[in-house]
């Protein structure tokens, strides 16, 4: 008994304002009590600080800690072990392996190593920088690239077809632009595709009389494709885009 309540020189915690919160757990407190006296962790030293431990927990458990029950649980185990040591007649061959004092000392030594390694990690966290990987491109999902990119000839051919369309005489009469409704466009397109299962996007585009209508048509096609109502097919790079209805 060290009488630490009265603040003698070898008391564990006297003169300080302490709480259980300052210890990471019962092992941390027990280890602190053993180490402050410069003892090695042995069955003997564990039992030697039992009284200090029990007193500390008794006093400190008034301050709440998440682990209060674990502190008290170890106090109970220590008292049991000490009582066994003091009363050699007690049957030590109980099947309570958990409560073996050698086992406790071993666990405490293991905890001591871990606590030291935790300090090493804290040191590394503070002093080592971190490494980073190369930032990968965002994953856009399963859009497969065109397996065979088109040739230059095909690209120029596509461009020619396009410019031919642009060069065709523009409609001479300008009527007020109709207000388009995407939902309506989707519905008419759906009907159109149901009637003609082999529609090309270029044909749809040709039917459009204004850029706005073309935009709505394009959006409607995309919408149907994303809904899975139609399948878009382009057999070669820059080639015609085929719109097929998905057979039900």
């Amino acid at each position: 008994m060290t009488g630490w309540r009265t603040g003698s020189a070898n008391s564990a915690l006297s003169g300080f304002n302490v709480s259980l919160d300052q210890f990471e757990g019962p092992f941390d407190l027990l280890l602190h009590l053993i180490e402050k006296d410069g003892m090695d962790i042995t069955s003997v030293s564990v039992l030697a600080v039992t009284d200090q431990y029990v007193q500390a927990v008794d006093l400190l458990s008034a301050s709440y800690s998440d682990a209060t029950s674990e502190f008290i649980s170890l106090a109970a185990i220590l008292l049991l072990l000490k009582s066994r040591a003091l009363l050699p007649s007690t049957d030590l061959d109980d099947e309570e392996d958990e409560d073996d004092v050698d086992d406790l000392a071993a666990r405490l030594r293991e905890y001591q190593i871990i606590r030291t390694m935790a300090n090493e990690l804290a040191h590394m966290e503070l002093n080592n920088g971190s490494s980073f990987i190369r930032i990968a491109e965002p994953n856009l999902g399963n859009y497969e690239a065109v397996s065979k990119a088109g040739s230059i000839e095909e690209l120029t051919q596509a461009l020619k077809t396009m410019t031919a369309r642009l060069n065709s005489p523009p409609p001479t009469i300008t009527v007020p632009a109709p207000r388009f409704n995407l939902q309506a466009r989707i519905e008419t397109l759906r009907e159109q595709i149901a009637l003609n299962n082999d529609l090309q996007f270029a044909a749809l585009a040709d039917d459009c009389t204004s850029t706005l209508e073309l935009v709505y048509t394009f959006l409607a096609v995309l919408h149907l494709a994303s809904n899975g109502d139609v399948r878009l097919k382009q057999t070669k790079g820059f080639g015609p885009i085929q719109i097929e209805s998905v057979a039900n």
Partner: protein, 198 residues
């Protein structure tokens, strides 16, 4: 003959270097060996050669559980964070550090192992480490109830700026270095300060 074989190993170095560079994920020895039509032993030797060549460069090759990848040098941490717009991470608590130390040095471990070694329930520390990606579930134990087993993730190495688990400090207790004691004068939960000053 010797000329030919050294040429060959040089080609192998270039090829492995290229594979690591283009790869989005870490590569296993068998991945590389099968692509290069080589053996895992030869690939491993070449990788070690590459690792030492990279030691003086701004890119490191890290190895975690037999898988390799290229990462930035930890000394450039500050600049990388700045470029990538990453906020400085909050430091791990003492409880999380202890839990992480157990996982790093004793892996694979179960929740019960963590609690047995620390003497307190460590679930919240574990979930914090899991959410930070420093540890991960790596399988299930054969013990009754088949509890989940936890181990470090490749991000663990990157976070602490080390090349492999072998680069972790040795776990022998230093003989003349008394372990840290809680700093009793300061406020609760300031253990990190104590340890860092030691």
């Amino acid at each position: 003959m010797t000329e030919h074989s050294s040429d060959h190993s040089l080609e192998l170095e270039k090829a492995i270097e290229s594979l690591l560079f283009v790869s989005d994920e870490d590569l296993g020895l068998d991945d590389i060996a099968s692509v290069l039509d080589s053996t895992t032993t030869i690939v491993e030797i070449t990788l070690h050669k590459l690792q030492s060549q990279y030691a003086s460069r701004g890119i490191h090759i890290v190895e975690h559980q037999g898988r390799y990848k290229m990462v930035s040098h930890p000394h450039a941490s500050l600049y990388c964070r700045k470029l990538l717009g990453l906020d400085p991470t909050t430091k791990l608590t003492q409880a999380s550090l202890e839990t992480l130390a157990i996982i790093a040095y004793r892996q694979p471990v179960t929740r019960t192992d963590l609690e047995r070694i620390r003497g307190v329930n460590s679930d919240s520390s574990l979930s914090n480490l899991l959410s930070r990606g420093l540890v991960k579930m790596i399988g299930r134990s054969d013990r009754i109830g088949r509890p989940q087993l936890y181990g470090t993730s490749p991000s663990f190495l990157m976070y602490f700026g080390i090349d492999s688990l072998n680069s972790l400090p040795s776990q022998e207790l230093p003989a003349d270095n008394p372990p840290a004691t809680p700093n009793i004068d300061t406020q609760p939960n300031t253990h990190e300060d104590t340890q860092n000053s030691i």
